[in-house]
């Protein structure tokens, strides 16, 4: 057993868990945050993507103990003060989700992608970068559109702020 303390969406969460507990299980079961999903058992689908210390991570590939002391942001922590994050807003605006199961992972992966590429993100790069996230419903068309729109919107806001 290991005692781990993780700051999840700004709140410290401690629990004593079995050594083999995955970060995704810690988030879903110990922190009660069920927005992070499990879609596979081979780290292929990306339904479980969260941010660990600012980087997108598949939370099924990491032990909770490895995240001890880390800052984790999940889909529940993305909107600030009731205001949707631009990526969330873009998924809604461009119908980038259907059943919603892949959506939290998609949005977390997209946010990280935009953080890395900014306005340089083009369709081909988005499609390549989405390689680790599977969606069975949308055919990706509107997800790609939403991410591009969010990247442009965020670049616009960044520029306006300068």
């Amino acid at each position: 057993m290991a005692t781990v303390t993780i700051t999840v969406n700004g709140k410290k969460r401690s629990a004593t868990v079995e050594d083999r507990t995955l970060l995704v299980n810690f988030l879903r079961e110990n922190a009660g945050l069920t927005g992070t999903h499990v879609g596979c058992d081979t780290s292929q689908c990306g339904a479980c993507v969260v941010h660990v210390d600012g980087k997108a991570v598949k939370s099924c590939t990491m032990l909770a103990a490895q995240a001890d002391g880390a800052e984790v942001v999940t889909i529940e922590g993305l909107a600030q003060g009731g205001e949707l994050h631009p990526v969330q807003a873009a998924f809604h605006e461009h119908h980038g989700l259907q059943c919603g199961f892949c959506t939290p992972g998609m949005i977390m992966a997209a946010t990280d992608m935009i953080n890395r590429y900014g306005a340089k993100l083009d369709e081909a790069t988005i499609r390549k970068e989405l390689d680790g996230n599977i969606c069975r419903c949308t055919g990706y068309h509107n997800i790609v559109k939403a991410i591009k729109a969010a990247a442009d919107a965020m670049a616009g806001t960044a520029q306006a702020a300068e």
Partner: protein, 787 residues
């Protein structure tokens, strides 16, 4: 109509919870004292279960119980059934082998459950499941349907001699043979349709809770049709009478057919909850999903088409062997028969068709409806042979199709279906224009200058949705009716709840169904709540599959709205002292035409509930229900054109453009419809290029994870170019045809026709992997390849 009415691109009401992580799926549910189930599964495709020793598992920490098939059968839990009776051509009924939720005697596919462990935590349950010792005696296995029919093949069920489930036929064989005898040209080919795994991203799950005091069960589960699940669990599996069983399908993460059926695991959780006296939860991991979710397709066919001297089709003859796996899943028998052979006329005027279908048991996972269900198999066959024939006779494939199009409606095909409306030339024209078909030659030449082989392929599909009417499907063997129900409840404050038997697992019903109400009463969709997926709330319903929620589910809502409107108008006329015929509904108000008198909708609702001043004999309240049974199937159709570039060195195919022109009849929300088409196209492209459920000879599924089963990813598909043409469906009040499956039905032949065009070799099986394409290319151009 208001801004939220029929035809508007209304953004989805349900999105907010999903994009903020607040969706509630079955795995997100908990119950006090809940235990976790883990199944003990067969590693063999075919084996005798000699003994099960649970003693070590029972000693492990946290283990509550290890339950086996013997106990299950002893407790009177019923066998799983197939609910659609098909008779062989000699009149004998299909041969249904016994399927137990936990198998005590003979396992028939890898992954079949023989026992279940219930423990305090999931990890404990899984550890203990590994410690259950099962002694198997392996039996020879067979995985290929054609091989299973051979004499001497391993026998899978004692009921089914030679593993044959039924030998069924449709159409006039003599007329077809005569047409072939006098044919000017005959094209024949072998066509196979690869086995697929549906792969909804949310794995199946169940949480079962038995309340001993009330003798009542609650089941939260990943279902597309909770009422049908309850009916089957109650009437056939003896779990509990319907009023003692509540089935809730909360947010469901995709279905595509795979969540229609009642599977062993859900039943076992219910039974285990009673046995152990605690709620029991099970969530499939992805490997379990691959091994136990009903697979799709898996046909092998021989097809022949006959032409006269004018290149008009005179007959089509098809022989199909369909692999149904180890057991007959809930609707499996209907898929390769009434959902398949009845669509073999395609968009074409074919005077005579005969189809013979043999369905077969094999030692593989059961096969049932997967997005399109039978119609993709029919469309692939028809559109591949159309393309091949055009190439053989040297005619432009578009012209050959056009020449044989059905142009008058209604059109009775020789295989049951009566097409009610359509304009196949319109969608072909639209697609050809958008694809710039005329200038393909220039693009091909340009690609050649870059060393790429460019090809173009089309598919003119037709499908049948909203499977109906109940009486007709009943006469064809269906065990259920295929109507839908709806209830419209206007609250005293004027907000509205719509209860529907349809189920949304991504289709956006919370928005589109609300649009119907907005359109009718001129209120905002934000005042409308759609209620579905709970047998305690909605009285009954048939659920969502076969693209039926629009044409059938929404029609029921329309009927209920008609009744509410009629009553409200009567009341409005009474209150405003006008005649009923003068009342019009506009912008959320009931108005007396030609006057300035009006009553807002919410006031009228309140008046119905205060009931202080009602017309003579009118009951208080404003709530109406309706059942809608369609008069016919609906027939969406369209043309898809795919353009590919093949790299001759690697055989890799890139889809460079994909145009889809669909006729879905009336469209409620174009944004949602486009999303459905995008998803369908991607699944179809997945089938054509990437996906294949492959078994080795011993019956191991060698593609049982995302490392081996190739799911389409974002960089495997292009952005799509979509458009619609419209002929109104005369069979339902909204004029809708359905859009959920078209993409998956129409796209595979367009892709394969394009690749075979590019490589100049018509022999190519799905999935057209780089290896297969490269080999086909070598076979076609040995000289060139050697250079």
């Amino acid at each position: 109509m208001g801004v939220d009415g029929i035809g508007a691109r209304v953004k989805r009401k349900e999105d907010r919870r999903f994009i903020t992580g607040k969706g509630r799926y079955t795995d997100d549910m908990t119950a006090p004292g809940m235990g976790f189930a883990a199944f003990v599964r067969s590693p063999h495709a075919h084996a005798k279960v000699k003994s099960i020793d649970a003693s070590a598992a029972l000693d492990m920490p946290g283990v509550e119980a290890v339950l086996t098939g013997e106990q299950l059968v002893g407790d009177g839990v019923g066998n799983l059934i197939c609910g659609w009776m098909i008779h062989s051509k000699d009149g004998t009924p299909m041969k249904m082998g016994a399927w137990r939720a936990l198998e005590p005697e003979i396992v028939r596919h890898v992954g079949q459950a023989v026992a279940v462990v219930v423990a305090d935590t999931l990890a404990q349950a899984r550890d203990a499941a590994e410690a259950v010792v099962v002694d198997y005696e392996e039996l020879p296995a067979v995985v290929d349907a054609v091989a299973a029919l051979e004499p001497g093949a391993p026998q899978i069920h004692p009921e089914a001699e030679n593993n044959l489930i039924y030998d069924w036929e449709i159409g006039d064989e003599a007329a077809v043979n005569a047409a072939f005898d006098s044919a000017k040209h005959v094209t024949s080919m072998e066509i196979s349709n690869n086995r697929l795994v549906p792969n909804a991203m949310e794995p199946r799950a169940a949480l079962a809770d038995y309340d001993e005091a009330e003798e009542h069960y609650t089941l939260w589960t990943t279902s597309q049709n909770p009422h049908v699940a309850r009916l089957v669990l109650s009437a056939f599996y003896n779990i509990a009478p319907e009023h003692k069983l509540r089935v809730i399908a909360p947010d469901v993460g995709g279905g595509f057919g795979s969540k229609i059926y009642v599977y062993p695991e859900e039943m076992v959780c219910l039974w285990a909850s009673k046995r152990t006296g605690r709620p029991v939860k099970w969530v499939a991991d992805r490997t379990e999903a691959f091994l136990t979710d009903a697979h799709g397709r898996d046909h092998k066919s021989h097809a022949e088409i006959a032409l006269d001297e004018n290149n008009r089709i005179t007959a089509l003859r098809v022989k199909t062997v369909a692999n149904l796996g180890a057991y007959m899943s809930l609707f499996s028998s209907s898929v390769p028969t009434y959902l398949y052979a009845t669509l073999l006329s395609g968009q074409y005027d074919i005077p005579a068709i005969h189809c013979n279908v043999k369905t077969v048991y094999t030692n593989t996972t059961p096969v049932d409806a997967y997005r399109g269900a039978g119609r993709p198999e029919a469309t692939f066959l028809v559109e591949r042979i159309m393309e091949t024939t055009a190439r053989e006779i040297g005619m432009d494939p578009a012209e050959f199709r056009r020449k044989n199009f059905i142009t008058e409606f209604p059109h009775q095909t020789p295989v049951i279906m009566c097409y009610d409306s359509g304009d196949y030339n319109a969608s072909l024209d639209a697609a050809m224009k958008a694809a710039d078909y005329a200038n393909f030659g220039a693009r091909k030449a340009e690609a050649a200058s870059r060393g790429k082989l460019r090809g173009i392929g089309m598919s003119c599909y037709i499908e049948a949705c909203g499977i109906a009417p109940s009486q007709a499907v009943g006469s064809l063997g269906a065990g259920v009716g295929l109507w839908e129900s709806a209830e419209v409840r206007v609250n005293p404050v004027g907000t509205i709840e719509v209860l529907t038997g349809s189920h949304s697992h991504g289709q956006g019903h919370e928005t589109t169904f609300a649009q119907l109400v907005a359109d009718r009463f001129g209120v905002g969709t934000d005042t409308v709540q759609i209620v579905h997926g709970d047998t305690d709330k909605v009285q009954f319903g048939m659920g969502t599959y076969g693209s039926r929620s629009g044409a059938v589910g929404m029609s029921a809502v329309v009927k209920a709205l008609d009744k509410v409107e009629a009553k409200a108008k009567k009341l409005a006329a009474h209150l405003m002292e006008a005649s009923e015929g003068d009342i019009v509904v506009e912008g959320g108000e009931f108005k007396v035409a030609g006057t300035d008198k009006s009553t807002p909708f919410f006031q009228l609702a309140l008046a119905a509930y205060t009931a202080h001043n009602m017309p003579e004999g009118m009951e208080p309240g404003l709530k109406e229900g309706a059942f809608y049974d369609p008069t016919n199937f609906t027939f969406p159709a369209g043309t898809y054109i795919c353009e590919v570039e093949v790299d001759p060195d690697t055989g890799k195919t890139e889809i460079v453009s994909f145009v889809a022109a669909d006729d879905f009849g009336k469209i409620i929300n174009p944004m949602i419809v486009e999303g459905q088409v995008h998803g369908g196209l991607t699944q179809g492209i997945g089938q054509a290029l990437l996906e294949n459920a492959a078994y080795d000879e011993s019956g191991q599924l060698i593609t049982a994870s995302y490392m081996d089963y190739c799911m389409p990813r974002a960089d495997d598909v292009p952005s799509f170019n979509l458009m619609t043409t419209e002929t109104i469906c005369p069979g339902n009040p909204l004029g809708m045809k359905g859009c959920g499956e078209a993409g998956a039905i129409g796209s595979p032949p367009a892709v394969i026709n394009a690749i075979t065009d590019a490589i100049g070799n018509n022999e190519l099986e799905m999935p057209a992997t780089p290896e297969r394409v490269w080999r086909a290319l070598q076979a076609a151009q040995p000289a060139q390849a050697a250079e």
